[in-house]
């Protein structure tokens, strides 16, 4: 009631505190125990057993993992997710930087509306993105093909972008770039807008060009957010599933398989639970590895500031 009671109230043991904490933590733990901890234990157990559908299976040690290493579909999947990660970092992030810098540098009336448009494709569900991707790359009637025949470039219209094993991967990658560059754009814009005005004014007084200002002031300041984006990109690539699954089903052949698609095929097409679980564990280990890198990078930077 009054301030004088404060120390006393603190010293007294509160018998209701324990039950309160327990009750408040209970819901989260109920969810996690049933739908996460138990499945994690099961995934690890299954990845060490040989099962097909029914029955509890036989313990086979690391056999599932050893077999995966020589499985061509898995090898292609692994190669594809890291190729995807490499080019996402190399293409999407610089592109996002250029757009973010262009949008913030002049900061006129169009900045806000343009930012909203650039982020629009990012909120599109992957099923819609896949649908539009097929719309663009379809043979004969797709946007590219019909534009090409409209201007008389028959050779360009004759290409089967999603059906060719050389081009399918890059076509899916192109539509992903269309869809997912919006996030790095708004993320970088938010950081750039925090750079103090004085720095910009000082740079302009010194006669620095926009390029010079970008290179000497903005990019050093974006060091940390860009590294975060690189890691997010990599972890996202390791989990890549939706777009190649819906646009090409991993094909033609193994041209667009990813770890996620291999997992799906092993688990829900071949009903090979052991192998599929082993891939699940590998996806977890790889993404954990890169998330840990993100956090160590983050901590270092935190101390510097």
């Amino acid at each position: 009631m009054s301030r004088e009671q404060k120390p006393k109230a603190r010293g007294v043991r509160d018998p209701k505190k324990g039950p309160f904490i327990f009750l408040f933590l209970l819901p989260a733990f109920l969810f996690l125990i049933v739908f996460m901890y138990y499945p994690i234990e099961e995934t690890i157990r299954l990845s060490l057993t040989k099962t097909t559908g029914m029955g509890s299976g036989v313990f086979v040690g690391l056999e599932n993992y050893q077999k995966l290493l020589v499985n061509p579909e898995f090898q292609q999947g692994l190669l594809h997710v890291f190729t995807w990660a490499f080019w996402s970092v190399l293409i999407q992030i610089p592109l996002a930087f250029l757009i973010a810098f262009g949008l913030t540098y002049y900061g006129n009336k169009l900045t806000g509306p343009l930012r909203s448009i650039f982020y629009l494709s990012n909120v599109m569900p992957s099923a819609i993105v896949a649908m539009l991707g097929k719309f663009i790359f379809a043979p004969r009637y797709g946007i590219i093909s019909s534009l090409a025949s409209a201007i008389g470039w028959k050779w360009l219209g004759a290409i089967d972008y999603l059906g060719s094993s050389n081009l399918a991967f890059w076509s899916v990658f192109a539509i992903a770039t269309w869809a997912y560059t919006g996030f790095p754009i708004i993320f970088l814009m938010a950081r750039i807008e925090q750079i103090p005005r004085e720095l910009r004014e000082a740079a302009e007084l010194d006669g620095a060009s926009a390029w010079r200002y970008a290179w000497s002031v903005v990019i050093p300041d974006l060091n940390y957010p860009i590294r975060i984006l690189m890691v997010l990109s990599t972890v996202g690539s390791i989990k890549l599933f939706d777009l190649p699954k819906m646009m090409t089903s991993g094909g033609p052949g193994f041209a667009t398989v990813t770890l996620g698609i291999t997992l799906y095929n092993q688990g829900f097409v071949n009903w090979n639970y052991g192998t599929a679980s082993a891939i699940g564990v590998i996806i977890f280990v790889l993404s954990l590895l890169f998330t840990v890198i993100q956090f160590t990078v983050g901590n270092k930077e935190g101390k510097a500031i």
């Binding site: 505190k17 994690i40 099961e42 002049y106 097929k134 829900f268 954990l288």
Partner: protein, 282 residues
């Protein structure tokens, strides 16, 4: 004089850069607008003049596409899943986040790390056991079975967000309420939770969008076509109908994308703000 010259040059470069950005923005919108040009045409008209404006506004492609996707049923299912995901993600997260921010002890710290682990677990890791578990408990092919899993994978992240939010509130508020004799739960429900409204709005939006867009979990856990969400319906459409009848395909794309576009036009400011806030706290 030189100052004026400078400003003029600045003006020219501003125009060039803005024009470039507008072109890029048009590229972003193009795949969403071009289907409109195709959707109202007959197949014949489309094959001869794909890029001309439609002669008449033919609606039969839309009714065909509507029948093929059954968008009304899809929207209802998706909405139910999204609201269910919100209702089951938020309370466990704000309860947990509150405890971790305000009742720090050895025990709660261990509990916190147990929940933090969940943040690093991708759904793909546990897909097989989740599927087996839901089949065994008959939760598969129910919308409940779907959003409970979505909630599980959202809770660790939102617990983190609520924890940092509650930790940022002034300590005096908390102590004053306790001294006034308010019980633990009263302090939370009457004082602390309303103060967390900004975090709650953020969670509402992003959990909704996440559930709305989900593909992988829905694909694994739902096989009954009546329960299919919008995204599963789009996926079935892609599998069943080719792009040969392009006008119908384009109409389906328009129908499928429209709800998200409307959602975005209505809430883009909040969505962008929320996404940035969520990303920065991550």
């Amino acid at each position: 004089m030189s100052d004026r010259k400078n400003r003029l040059r600045y003006g020219a470069s501003e125009v060039v850069v803005t024009a470039l950005l507008i072109v890029l923005a048009l590229i972003v919108i193009a795949p969403l607008v071009i289907p409109l040009l195709f959707a109202f045409k007959t197949q014949l008209e489309f094959s001869y003049h794909p890029w001309a404006l439609p002669k008449a506004l033919l609606m039969s492609n839309f009714s065909d596409a509507w029948k093929a996707i059954r968008i009304d049923q899809g929207l209802l299912n998706t909405l139910f899943v999204a609201l269910g995901a919100i209702a089951t993600t938020l309370p466990p997260s704000f309860f947990g986040g509150y405890i971790f921010a305000r009742y720090k002890s050895k025990v709660t710290e261990i509990a916190f790390y147990c929940i933090l682990i969940g943040y690093f677990v991708p759904a793909q890791m546990v897909l097989i056991p989740l599927y087996k578990f839901e089949v065994a408990t008959k939760l598969n092919n129910t919308l409940w079975g779907l959003f409970l899993v979505m909630a599980t994978f959202g809770i660790p992240f939102w617990t983190l967000i609520y924890r940092s939010f509650f930790a940022g509130l002034p300590n005096e508020l908390f102590e004053a309420a306790r001294i006034d004799g308010a019980s633990h739960s009263k302090t939370f429900f009457n004082i602390m939770l309303p103060l967390a409204n900004p975090a709650t709005v953020l969670a509402l939006l992003l959990v909704f969008i996440g559930a709305w867009s989900d593909f992988l979990l829905s694909l694994i856990l739902l096989t009954d076509q009546n329960l299919f969400t919008m995204q599963l319906r789009v996926n079935s459409f892609l599998g069943a109908y080719g792009t040969d009848r392009m006008p119908r395909y384009a109409s389906a794309a328009v129908i499928a994308a429209l709800p998200t576009i409307i959602l975005y036009i209505a809430g883009h400011k909040w969505i962008i703000k929320g996404t940035i806030a969520g990303a920065v706290k991550e």
